[in-house]
């Protein structure tokens, strides 16, 4: 039997390992990306890919009636965006300028983002449970909807971002679960890293050689600094 990590794609092959997958303890983690055992899915030989294709096809067929297929996205009511979303939009455009080596424009967008960050209102429920709720909402509803809409119009860019952020969100979910059960011990004598491209979070002394989600090299990882004393 083979099992695949839903985050990084690592395959655990029962026939090649000493311990069958089922007998591994719950505390066992993916050797590549540290994802928990629960992130592994059994690979059904052969039928896996076919099934996926049929599933996508049926989604497209079912949806043809309701499909609006409008390419008109000119309505730009920025007021529909929350202040914190405007900040995100601006840091994204700052990044777009940076990639084009337009550093002055990058700074201007960053200043707009800072302004929005400053005036954006606080959230109501500032606790870990609310984070879990938001994550579950994305996993159960948000990502399947992007998947459905993007498959309809064969928008591979949207499918790409869905794949990446779904994996990262799954990882955040399992980190939260782990923190809830292990507590502070989870982050003692180790470091926390964030992939600066896709947002994948990794806990370990050194970052992985390659990001398991977006495949950039280790130097693209940022170390999260601890709190400054005093």
């Amino acid at each position: 039997m083979k099992y695949r990590c839903k985050i990084c794609g690592f395959v655990y092959d029962d026939t090649k390992e000493k311990t069958p997958f089922e007998d591994l303890p719950d505390s066992w983690i993916c050797p590549i990306c540290n994802a928990p055992k629960s992130m592994f899915e059994r690979i059904e030989d052969n039928i896996d890919d076919n099934n996926k294709e049929n599933f996508n096809k049926s989604i497209t067929e079912n949806n043809q009636k309701t499909q609006t297929n409008s390419n008109n996205n000119s309505s730009n009511e920025y007021l529909n965006l929350s202040i914190s979303e405007l900040s995100i939009l601006c840091t994204n455009l700052a990044r777009g300028c940076e990639k084009q080596y337009k550093y002055e424009e990058m700074e201007l967008f960053k200043q707009l983002a800072e302004y929005f960050d400053k005036i954006s209102p606080a959230e109501k429920n500032n606790n870990v449970d609310e984070l879990t709720n938001l994550i579950s909402n994305d996993i159960e509803k948000g990502f399947p909807e992007i998947n459905y809409a993007a498959n309809n119009v064969n928008d591979r860019g949207a499918l790409r971002v869905k794949t990446w952020s779904e994996k990262v969100t799954n990882m955040l979910n399992s980190l939260l679960l782990q923190y809830k059960s292990v507590g502070e011990k989870m982050i003692e004598n180790t470091d926390v890293w964030v992939c600066s491209v896709c947002g994948f979070v990794y806990i370990g002394k050194t970052p992985p050689e390659m990001c398991p989600v977006c495949k950039v090299p280790s130097w693209k990882f940022e170390k999260v600094e601890g709190r400054k004393n005093g």
């Binding site: 609006t68 409008s70 390419n71 008109n72 996205n73 000119s74 730009n76 920025y78 007021l79 914190s84 979303e85 995100i88 939009l89 840091t91 994204n92 455009l93 777009g96 300028c97 084009q100 337009k102 002055e104 201007l108 967008f109 200043q111 302004y115 005036i119 606080a122 959230e123 429920n125 500032n126 606790n127 870990v128 984070l131 938001l134 994305d138 948000g142 990502f143 992007i146 809409a149 993007a150 309809n152 119009v153 928008d155 860019g157 949207a158 971002v161 990446w164 952020s165 923190y179 507590g183 989870m186 890293w193 964030v194 896709c198 947002g199 994948f200 979070v201 999260v224 601890g226 709190r227």
Partner: protein, 166 residues
């Protein structure tokens, strides 16, 4: 033909200096290793000669970005909303906790959610700063600023410096 300008990636540059030998305008020979865009004519000689592939020819004008389907945009936007909320919540938890581990974890969550949201925003119609979407947004902000202290000059400057390509 579209114009290009040479840019050196300092991370890849191994200082073989062939770009200095081949540039007819001296644009690649600078004290800070950044190619002088006022001298560069976009001929591409340096990029072809560079043995480490550290120089790329960056276009001055970009093609319009891909049009996005309304439903795709809507579905992505609802995830962005959650990521924006999660970012703020993680930030707040980090600021108010006295536990070092939770602080680091929440700082990572704050950053991670911002990065995911930025990427999602790109696929929801805001890939290029030159796009009509980005322009419309800036114009909208100038016309209807969200509050009195909104830095209108910054938005105007951006409109001025980045021409719309659609």
């Amino acid at each position: 033909m579209d114009k290009f300008v040479a840019v050196r990636n300092l991370r890849l540059c191994t200082k073989d200096c062939l770009c200095l030998y081949v540039c007819p305008y001296g644009a690649t020979d600078t004290e800070n290793s950044i190619i002088d865009v006022t001298k560069c004519t976009g001929c591409g000689a340096c990029a072809k000669a560079c043995p480490s592939g550290a120089i790329s020819m960056v276009p001055i004008n970009y093609p319009p970005q891909q049009k996005k389907d309304k439903r795709v945009i809507n579905s992505i936007n609802s995830v962005i909303k959650n990521k924006a909320k999660a970012e703020k919540i993680a930030k707040n938890i980090a600021e108010n906790t006295n536990k070092d581990g939770l602080f680091k974890l929440m700082k990572a969550f704050e950053r991670s959610n911002r990065l995911m949201a930025e990427d999602l925003v790109r696929e929801a119609g805001y890939m290029l700063p030159q796009s009509k979407n980005a322009h419309d947004l800036l114009e909208n902000l100038v016309a209807n600023p969200p509050d009195k202290n909104f830095p209108i000059e910054i938005a105007k400057k951006l409109l001025d410096k980045i021409p719309c390509n659609e």
